[in-house]
């Protein structure tokens, strides 16, 4: 079919102008859509409003629009067209005309003179965003589904079977449950396993202690294997938190202790403690107490005595004057005059937890030589049993009286080859013993030994009638607390800040600081409420959780 469409428009001064359009199609489509052969700008027209086509040799116009098309003033859904028919679609008028030679069908097209611009769509394309942009609703659904599928459904499919989880974890582009990590896994834990299910055994259930006990022993906490009963409602994870930032496997939270220690059950010796600054008993040094019986086999006992208690006396049985040793003028030593400092004797163990024990050999003998004879200053008695000391002295003086020492006093002259007579021998032995006893009495009761030790005369007729009381220095004054000298930087900090040694004239003085000294730096656990710049100090800074030998829980 060859159609002619003649577009008519009003020209100047009422003249009519026209353009012709030739269409070589079987059908002419009419509508508001841009793909229509006859494009209408009328809002009342449907996108595909009507079509003109040949049926059974006749030209028909048909429409599916409910309003139909108006042909010769009558609304119709389908009409046969003849020359002279007038069709109205909205404000558009089509008039069928005689087809010129070479055309099968022809009609004119014009705008009704009473058409208003309101009824017409713009000549332009879409002018509003909502006409061209994607639907917000569709975008929303798409995004929500992407999030749920990628972040939840695919990773969760790993929960169905361990193999599925492995496949997800080992495939680069597939999301796995690593997406759900709320924070880093602690170093030690991530080394032992990369499977979330090792600890998170049951979905939507808190991590159970059993998961921890697979690798961990409980004897640091409870003296029993029946942990569930002993820990009550508390779980391992109540105190040991994973996935925290910064990583903190041991919860420092003070209330974990204070909740119980605020109000301990009757019969518990411990005083209430809830906060180092606000409620904490004063420190009580644990002092070694010598055995009451003098039989030598009895054990030393430990007694905790408050710092303000008059019984607070160190009974190590060593005589020691810190003030003399720390004299700023210095001390006369065998070598030279020396000024001693604390660290000459008190040194921190490797690791910093404790001090190296004081010993005669290590710390005293450098100055406190055990010589006994001014004429022979290199000779020393051993540091030990009185009997042995006396024996050495007797042997020493016997040798001097009998030997070749020309200076030896009381030496009897005899001819070469002449043997000692029995009477001589007895006499020398007697003299040597007498001399040794005199020297021994001097060192035991007045000088060398008595300088440091409590020596008593037994008055018995034994070989050495003296008794030197055993010395035992307290190693841990606060055994229930953890204190590290290294952490307190004793290299830089003056020892005198905590230990008033420079003024102490007696070893009976307990030179341990009290809680007030600690509180100069250590404050309440709640640092942000401290105004004095104290270090926030929780229970766990100095104390450990119940250990089997130190009380039970709960």
């Amino acid at each position: 079919m060859r159609y002619l469409i003649r577009f008519l428009s009003q020209g100047a001064a009422g003249s009519v102008e026209h353009y012709d359009k030739i269409v070589d199609d079987p059908t002419i489509t009419i509508g508001r859509a841009t793909d229509q052969v006859l494009h209408l700008k009328d809002k009342r027209a449907r996108l595909q409003h009507a079509r003109i086509e040949v049926r059974n040799g006749d030209v028909h116009i048909s429409t599916r629009a409910l309003a139909g098309v108006t042909v010769n003033g009558r609304s119709q859904r389908d009409a046969k067209l003849r020359t002279g028919d007038v069709i109205e679609v909205g404000s558009n008028i089509l008039t069928i005309i005689e087809a010129p030679p070479g055309f099968d069908f022809a009609f004119t097209f014009e705008l009704s003179p009473d058409a208003t611009s309101d009824e017409l769509t713009s000549q332009f394309g879409s002018l509003r965003l909502s006409q061209v942009a994607w639907s917000k609703r569709r975008l929303s659904w798409a995004l929500a589904i992407i999030v749920i599928v990628l972040a939840l459904i695919i990773p969760a499919s790993g929960l169905l079977h361990p193999t599925a989880a492995d496949i997800l974890r080992n495939t680069v582009l597939l999301p796995d449950d690593g997406l759900w990590l709320a924070g880093p896994v602690h170093n030690k834990h991530s080394k032992s396993s990369t499977q979330c299910q090792h600890c998170h055994t049951q979905a939507f259930n808190r991590v159970k202690d059993v998961a921890c006990l697979e690798c961990h022993q409980t004897d640091r906490h409870v003296n029993s294997t029946a942990t569930e009963a002993i820990l009550g409602e508390q779980r391992c994870a109540s105190c040991h938190l994973e996935h925290n930032e910064p990583p903190e496997l041991v919860k420092q939270h003070q209330n974990l202790c204070a909740d119980c220690h605020a109000d301990l059950p009757a019969g518990v010796e411990l005083a209430a403690a809830t906060d180092f600054l606000k409620q904490h008993p004063d420190l009580q040094p644990s002092l070694l107490r010598p055995p009451l019986a003098n039989d030598g086999d009895a054990e030393w006992t430990v007694q905790r005595i408050a710092l303000d208690d008059p019984r607070l006396i160190d009974r190590s049985r060593l005589k020691f004057d810190h003030s003399v040793h720390l004299d700023a003028e210095g001390l006369t030593t065998p070598d030279d005059r020396r000024v001693l400092v604390c660290t000459d004797c008190h040194r921190v163990e490797t690791g910093g937890a404790r001090m190296i024990p004081i010993s005669m050999d290590e710390h005293c003998s450098g100055c406190h030589t055990l010589n006994f004879d001014a004429d022979d200053p290199d000779r020393e008695v051993p540091h030990g049993e009185p009997e042995k000391v006396l024996q050495i002295l007797i042997e020493y003086y016997s040798a001097r009286l009998l030997g070749d020492d020309p200076q030896a006093t009381g030496r009897r002259l005899r001819r070469p080859g002449q043997a000692l007579t029995r009477a001589d021998r007895d006499r020398v032995a007697g003299e040597a013993r007498k001399k040794a006893m005199a020297v021994a009495q001097d060192i035991f009761e007045r000088t060398t030994c008595a300088n440091c030790h409590e020596v008593s005369s037994t008055g018995e007729g034994g070989a050495a009638p003296w008794r030197v009381e055993a010395v035992k220095l307290t190693q841990e004054f606060y055994p229930r607390a953890v204190f590290s000298h290294q952490a307190h930087d004793t290299e830089a900090v003056d020892c005198g800040l905590c230990h008033a040694a420079a003024d102490s004239e007696s070893s009976a003085d307990v030179l341990m600081p009290g809680i007030d000294t600690c509180r100069e730096c250590h404050g309440s656990a709640v640092a942000r409420r401290n105004h004095s710049g104290q270090i926030a100090s929780t229970c766990i800074m100095c104390h450990r959780f119940h250990t089997p030998d130190k009380g039970s829980f709960p």
């Binding site: 965003l129 972040a151 929960l159 997406l179 990590l181 709320a182």
Partner: protein, 292 residues
């Protein structure tokens, strides 16, 4: 309206939001330092619950604004509260997170939330600035007035061109048919002029770009410079005048479309991201308790 969502009821919801922020910050600051900030502490759960409720309530605005018969406050009040509480949400959620971020679903929810709020801030800015600009640009006329005026100019230009040689008709008709306004979303927002025109060059025709009707005007000017009779010259002058007026009208129409599109475009980010955020929050909550 644009100012009143900010100042609504003497900044009532600004004060509500500030109070909420202050309470959250205070609780966060007073938190026991031995309990490091985390979503899993008591305060963390509290802030998380608060944040989730806020998100649901903020999203509910999309429902409330369609409930024309609802008497639960005015939509204006809701929008004011939506804006201020949406801003407060950032702080509440950041405090909930304890400032811990990672490549995980939890940070995904946080990032989506921040993007939603940022797009919302952009939207508020648009609502404050653009309606005024829109009015200034329209100069009292509606968009259809602009279109009608352009139509009118086109009609007159066709009429004038009808009395001129064929080339002029082609110039004017193609210039009208190939004038592009609007179109794709990007074309609306960029406000670019992709119009074309067919220029008669000797016996042939060339299609050239015609932004601001420049090419057509230049061609006319060139023709005018050649000697011609007085009647033709007068028609040419009329055509040039019509095209210059059309250019101004097209500029205003494009600006109108651009401003209108800017007023709407942020919602294409804000709304889908909000729904994505709701999904991410659900995933966040489920997964946190899945591996408790």
């Amino acid at each position: 309206m644009q100012e009143s969502i900010v100042r609504y009821n003497r900044y009532r919801y600004l004060w509500v939001a500030l109070g909420l922020c202050a309470a959250a910050v205070l609780a966060y600051a007073l938190q026991d330092p031995q309990e490091p900030p985390n979503g899993g502490t008591a305060l963390g759960y509290t802030l998380g619950t608060l944040g989730a409720l806020l998100i649901v309530w903020l999203a509910w605005f999309g429902v409330r604004k369609r409930q024309y018969s609802s008497t639960a406050g005015t939509v204006q009040g809701w929008l004011s509260a939506h804006v201020y509480l949406g801003l407060a949400l950032i702080l509440v959620v950041l405090l909930h997170s304890g400032f811990q971020f990672g490549m995980n679903v939890h940070t995904l929810a946080l990032v989506l939330m921040i993007l939603v709020v940022l797009s919302g801030i952009f939207g508020v800015y648009m609502y404050i600035k653009y309606p005024l600009r829109l009015n200034e640009n329209r100069q009292g006329a509606g968009r259809s007035d602009l279109v009608d005026q352009i139509d009118d100019i086109d009609r007159r230009a066709k009429r004038v061109a009808g009395g001129l040689p064929r080339g002029y008709g082609e110039l004017i008709h193609s210039g009208i048919n190939r004038t592009v306004v609007g179109g794709s979303a990007w074309a609306m927002i960029a406000g670019r002029d992709n119009s074309q025109v067919v220029l008669p060059t000797g016996d042939d025709y060339t299609v050239v770009a015609n932004p601001g009707q420049e090419a057509a005007l230049d061609w006319l000017a060139e023709q005018q410079s050649r000697s011609m009779d007085a009647e033709t010259a007068a028609k040419m002058t009329e055509l040039s005048g019509l095209l210059r007026n059309k250019r101004k009208l097209l500029e205003r129409l494009r600006e109108d479309i651009r401003l209108q599109a800017m007023l709407e475009v942020w919602l294409y980010i804000h709304v889908p991201l909000s729904v994505g955020l709701l999904a991410a929050v659900v995933v966040h909550i489920i997964t946190v308790f899945l591996y408790w």
